[in-house]
Symmetry: D2
């Protein structure tokens, strides 16, 4: 019966700081309780602004087309949610920047917020189902009035991509022009400056590089892993060679050779640099090692939440791709493929963006290529290598319950 | 790569009316094509208003709480969609009012728009999943700043309920006050005036009353159905009475008696009036007959789309109930049940609104109670009873492709 | 509290035919009512078979891996639903074959069942979210035991694709082998024989070719449309040529030329045959005309449900594509891209199947390319061209309530 | 193009143990690779059993009703997923029982599996949308053949409820009979014996009771919290009393009194016992303290994953309730409310099960009632109270990578 979830409950008693609100109450004596002091629902949400922003171009031009309202509201809802994703993204980047997530106390916050972004993206993917209740014919009726407004102009979506780490030089150009050319003035600057900041990808990379256990003079995960794998492959080969000759044996040997190639390449830093330069890898060599380590030891208390973070990052990547794909499908439905008109169509362009090149955390997906039997994973002696939480070392003067965002 | 579905495609060539836009083009010579003439994305969507409406009360009071942003954006997204639902609802009511949907050409539009409302409600139900990423603790941190803003103040949700037909006198009062008391001035008037207009329920009722085939001097569906059912029940009874005595026989007889009661009540107009007066039925007796008729003959071309409409109306009812139920769950999670504090809690109140009393089209659900074997349904001879589409009678001067909303 | 939706309600009274059940009741005297006569839940659903079919290969080989159970259940759920989709698909094809859907009374059934298929596909797309709770590491632990079982062996999915109309010769070969090579014996034959039957695409094509209004000596939709469009384009050109020279004018002229090309191609039957031969169109020329006609006149009572059918068919196409795309994403997550190992990886193969070539009803999507202003659409005079429902002509001896599936 | 997600990839090389499979390969020389050795897709999934289990009662009785197939498949899909939920549930209960989750290394597994259950329940809630494509009329046509099979007979759902901890004595009786009466023989015993085992609720309770920090002679969380809250409330009262007399003041004082009551009750062990005995609380007093502690200190590395677990448990509770609610809605749609027939209808019964009494982890929801300002939460000095992970103390002989399920 209420249009709003759980706002409500009367004035909160516990005010940690002497508040203005109390005085206001004084001045409102005798007024109906529901609006006594404080703020009312519609004002709080600034509904006067939000709900007066639906102006139909078709109506302006004297030919009101019913469905244009859906078009506007859908896009506004997308933009609202993009704004909130940016809010979460900036807060996560901040947590990484300010604390180097040295303080593991922040990890729950980081994971929860990245998870929240995935939940929003899921909703945004669902949202296409609403837009798709509009048929191509309905759209055709007002399409002309929108010209030349174009979806390529959503500043927030571009910001979002940039801040996560979609590589500028890997973007598919549209009609041979850089995507940033669509923006001007303030917008163009906002975009440019955001590209100067550390991306989520870069911050995660730096964090992965600090994974405890990578130290060559310590646990030396990478060295131990390489030794184990080489030994393992050698033994496999030995075993296979003893088999009687057969087609099966040849197949197995061929497979083994491929595997050996894969791992030889993995342990070759120059190969990694080469792939980096081509954009086929995005994480530094050391960060890649950290990510693989977190995968192998994900059940260690120290690595449980970091593992969840890696999983959530992949989820974001995947959902952005699904969002783009659903977008492509909707466009196809609305304007057709325009095959035969010549010139790159909007549809064909969008189609090309649903590619692995646009994946930011593709390296995390590709870790699956480097899995090995558990027996090959270097053993961990937690008595010796503790991978302590930094949080357990902070000094007692730390004010553990300061407002989260003031830090 | 684009933040917006399928806006785009360059200026549309086909302009049925000489447009202003052309002249504007003239004045924009030499400007970058992307913004040449017309309107740009951000302006079109009025993003300056929409994206500047997120003001955190906690931040205003010097204690920025991160999650308040989610709270605001979620509610704004709800309100945006409520606005669009009202847009569709008003257009459907208009189609009923202006045309009495005498013109069956409007039926596709009516069904499509009601269907669109269900798709939006599905999204709104999903949307709780995003809000639920906020824990009770996160909410607690800024709850005090919202006071006394309350969800009971969402004007649009109340309008929506009123326009669909949630009965004013069946609403559960909150803290013994009428829900309209939460609104003041302009809002209160808007609400009051909307309550004077014909509700969707009433318009559907009138439309159902006109179902072809109900005429007593024509096909006389109701009379024929009553006769068939009475005959059928009599034969069932006869058959049962010939069975040997057994527990099974007694059970079957008891069941038959119940069924007979159900149908005796169905064919008793006074009983219907009684249920109407108690709010247990909402449709007039004749409309109920029309609805049952459409159900039984739904495969007749004449009744296919009407049947889809009845189904879609039930869907709306069900989804509003699910929305309320999910709302209740979220509230429980956020503020607990407050059992033991005395006074009706927000949770307990909301719980009570998820009741069948709030169903508007409950009568359509209850039709399932009155189904009978197909053999009992009065036969239709389409040579005699054609139930013609009015549309096929309209005169040729009718301009069939005038703008839909100008009629 | 119940594991089953709405089974229940006691013995139904109304039995149109004297049933065996009654006699059974006699023999069950004194037995607890819940199992008296008839059939019990577990037997009805054959749960002994369904719930004993989860045998973990890892467990068989002495190394039980917990997550293999999820893998099995997920795939079994997919197969269950595939079976049901085939059930609906076959019934729809039957309705088309037996009745040529000449009897419009079947249209509601056809549309409802196609719609149901889309609802199932939506669920199947969602279902990946459950499978994705399994990480690459979890999968790696039992992957070896599955060899060489392969998803390319799902007979039902291939049947489903074949019956809808995925073109055999358009399929991407896997490792240079025809997809049918994966099946043997009975399975291979089932597949082959299904490929001999009329596909949904073909049946829809035949139905579209019969669209009333296409007759050259009748309404002659295609001829009238061509004339209107040619006239319209000529007038546009005339208008543009009178403009003062400018960049804008040149752009508009270029656009107009493209549009003219598009429509010239549309009205060229040879061009259509050429595209057909390349697999870029799938519908016959006449069927394409019918589809466009239904789009333009969708609000006519006669065309409302046909229009819904076309929309639902596009939905199926889109959802199958989304299913494939989600599949690809899951595979990427589970086994990586295997880039660098050489040889076509499963991932790369799957990636290639998410292409427009696999769309069956792509022609319906591309109709959006051929939309024109409503003023250009040939006017319909319903007094002259009635497009009557065949149903209204059927003779009175037709048994309108025979069991639907006995026909 | 494949009916199966990511099965595939050829024989895995890395076999930790000498496998039978190799020898089999030998015997299969020359056979097409796709079926060489090992197991094929259809056999692996035992599709012969799963896909032959759809027998329509209506067809058996000579009157095939198309939609009965949907009814069967939907229920079988439910049962398949119920089986998997039981699989996860049993594994989680095992992890608790065997390790007392003393070994925090299991926490990721526990949380992930509980999370997976929530993902499945989400799917099951969605699944009603498929069933709802069947109208009441479609159902009516075969309803009689199902008698007396009843959803109340889903053994697995009852097991699932029992194992999670739905209280036997809190269940709503159906037609005055205990729900267990619906089962007989083996099924009844399975159910009974499952009720002897420790429920998830009990195991979580025991785990919560061991929360580090509850020790009275240690950090003494409960004692400190009580002292802080009492002090806080006293100061609030003091502050309020200094206000000038006004309606506002009275309101605030009334609120404060209610709050004081709430907390007085919270710190009263006898009150807790009383609520326990009435079934209004389910967790022991000490477990409740542990849960509140985890909530307040959820950002401590030690408590991050435990906090996620509590959240996931609430999610399960909520989703089971939503499942029941959606079930009720579907039933209402299918069979109506049967109002007027007398006797408790299936619908009315189901309606009653969607109550808070059926919530298992209601105590966790109600924690929201006991939140206090962060300043009132006892400060934690991590130098003194380390809440160490047990895992960090295990001895080096622990085989950290033994197969997970052999422990």
């Amino acid at each position: 019966m209420s249009g709003c979830p759980f706002l409500g409950r009367k004035r909160q008693l516990f005010t940690s700081k002497p508040s203005q609100a109390e005085e206001e109450d004084e001045s409102q004596k005798g007024i109906n309780k529901a609006t006594k002091g404080g703020i009312v629902y519609g004002e709080y949400l600034q509904l006067d602004k939000v709900l007066s922003a639906q102006v139909l171009q078709s109506q302006q031009k004297g030919n009101k087309i019913h469905d244009e309202h859906l078009f506007i509201v859908t896009h506004q809802a997308y933009e609202l949610w993009f704004k909130h994703i940016l809010w979460e993204l900036d807060s996560v980047r901040d947590l990484f920047i300010k604390n180097h997530v040295r303080d593991e106390r922040n990890m729950l916050k980081v994971v929860s917020r990245i998870h929240r972004i995935t939940m929003i993206f899921k909703l945004l993917v669902e949202q296409f189902a609403v837009l798709e209740t509009m048929t191509a014919l309905d759209f055709f009726d007002f399409r002309e009035y929108l010209s030349p407004a174009s979806g390529f102009q959503s500043l927030q979506f571009h910001l979002l991509e940039a801040k996560i780490g979609v590589a500028d030089h890997l973007r598919v150009p549209y009609n041979r022009r850089h995507y940033r050319d669509s923006f001007h003035g303030q917008e163009s600057e906002t975009l440019l400056s955001s590209e100067q900041e550390a991306t989520l990808l870069q911050l995660v990379e730096q964090w992965l590089e600090r994974t405890p256990g990578l130290e060559k003079d310590g646990f030396n995960f990478w060295g131990k892993l390489q030794a184990n794998i080489e030994e393992g492959l050698k033994m496999e080969k030995h075993k296979l060679e003893k088999m009687e000759d057969s087609e099966a044996k040849e197949d197995l040997l061929a497979d083994l050779n491929k595997q050996t190639e894969v791992f030889t390449a993995l342990f070759d830093p120059e190969r990694h640099e080469h792939l980096l330069s081509k954009g086929e890898r995005r994480l530094s060599y050391k960060a890649l090692q950290g990510a693989l380590m977190i995968n192998f030891y994900r059940e260690e208390p120290r690595f449980q939440v970091p593992f969840q973070l890696l999983t959530a990052l992949m989820e974001i990547d995947m959902l952005m791709t699904k969002w783009r794909y659903n977008h492509v499908c909707t466009v196809h439905r609305m304007i057709g493929s325009k095959a035969g008109t010549g010139g790159s169509s909007g549809y064909q362009y969008l189609r090309s963006t649903v590619s692995d090149r646009c994946k930011v955390f593709g390296d995390l997906f590709n870790l699956a290529t480097f899995l090995v039997p558990r027996a090959w994973v270097p053993k961990l002696n937690p008595n010796i290598h503790k991978f302590p939480y930094m949080a357990e070392c902070y000094d007692s003067s730390y004010n553990s319950y300061s407002s989260e965002d003031s830090d």
